[in-house]
Amino acid sequence: MGAVFLKLLNMGITASWLILAVLLLRFLLKKAPKWISCLLWALAALRLICPISVESRLSLIPSAETLPQTVMTGNSFQVNTGLNAVDAAVNTYLGDHYYEGVSVPADYGNTVLNLLGFLWLLGVMALVTYSTVSYLRLRRHVSAAIPFKESIWLCDYIKTPFILGAFRPRIYLPSDLTETQRSHVLAHERAHLKRRDHWWKLLGFGLLTVYWFHPLVWRLPPGLRGNRCERADSLRAEL
């Protein structure tokens, strides 16, 4: 458990560099084509998902393993951020203030990480439960719907249209739309489906469930989502 969490921590920290880069880039280049930021988000997501890291001299990321394995096995806590100044400062500070005159038990690092890993798992389970319950409640809310055509359903009890389901997505429309409103809404929702937005949303949510402790990851989904609606509209305009 501790080992898993340690790996996640390291991956998370590495990805942070990428996420910060995206946020900075989006702030500086507001007019840049959206595909650039999509690409960077994709790289960050990839770093979060893939446990195998490729060490490259060309990499701008300082270190792939900020918290080395010795944190678990050794009785010391040394960081390896890849930035010498930071490493020196942190390690010296910890050495001076935490380990002097204190006898640290041999597997202290291991114990702490196992505990943190356990807490992490609790968080994951809480999020999974919450999302499952929300999904089921939404499903139940739209159960009283009638099919319109293909996988489009009309429902009396919803106020806004939406897509539900990742693998066999259904478009739910409020039943009181005029024909023109309906055709516009359908074009918009179909554009979303064409860009597979329902899959990205699922992915974003999966990442969040695993990396719930990482504050920057909470910035990911809105970044994707904000892009998505505008792009769906522009795609629809092109169609």
């Binding site: 159960s143 009283a144 719907a145 009638i146 099919p147 009309l154 429902c155 009396d156 009890y157 039943s175 009181d176």
Partner: protein
């Protein structure tokens, strides 16, 4: 839906009941499963909503009609004429015929209604 109107889904459901009442609730659930692909719980939920609105009632497992389809839509029509045309039926007809002319059949029927109404 609000103020007594039936939504598209609710009217499909209500039409099923009006066409088949009185009907055992279990039978109704089966019918909705066939016609609308609804689960049993969904059928019961919407049924409860319509019973609360006073259109149907569920007596010991049998679904019965309280307000018939004609009465229901008559009331809707009255509300429409009241709200949109200040209760003036001629105004309603004028608006109705502005875009679609009356057919000969319509005219005959309306004349008949006027004649028999005059006799009351």
């Amino acid at each position: 839906m609000t103020d007594g109107k039936l939504g598209v889904v609710e009217s499909r459901f209500a039409d099923l009941i009006w066409a088949n009442a009185p009907i055992a609730s279990g039978e109704l659930a089966k019918l909705c499963e066939k016609e609308l692909t609804w689960k049993r719980t969904t059928t019961y939920n919407v049924l409860r909503k319509l019973c609360d609105r006073g259109i149907f009632k569920n007596e010991n497992g049998t679904v019965k009609v309280v307000v018939s389809r004609e009465d229901f839509y008559a009331a809707q029509g009255e509300t429409l004429v009241d709200e949109a045309f200040d209760g003036s039926l001629p105004a309603f007809l004028a608006a109705f015929t502005r875009r679609k002319a009356l057919s000969a059949d319509d005219i005959a029927k309306i004349r008949e209604m006027i004649d028999s109404a005059g006799e009351v």
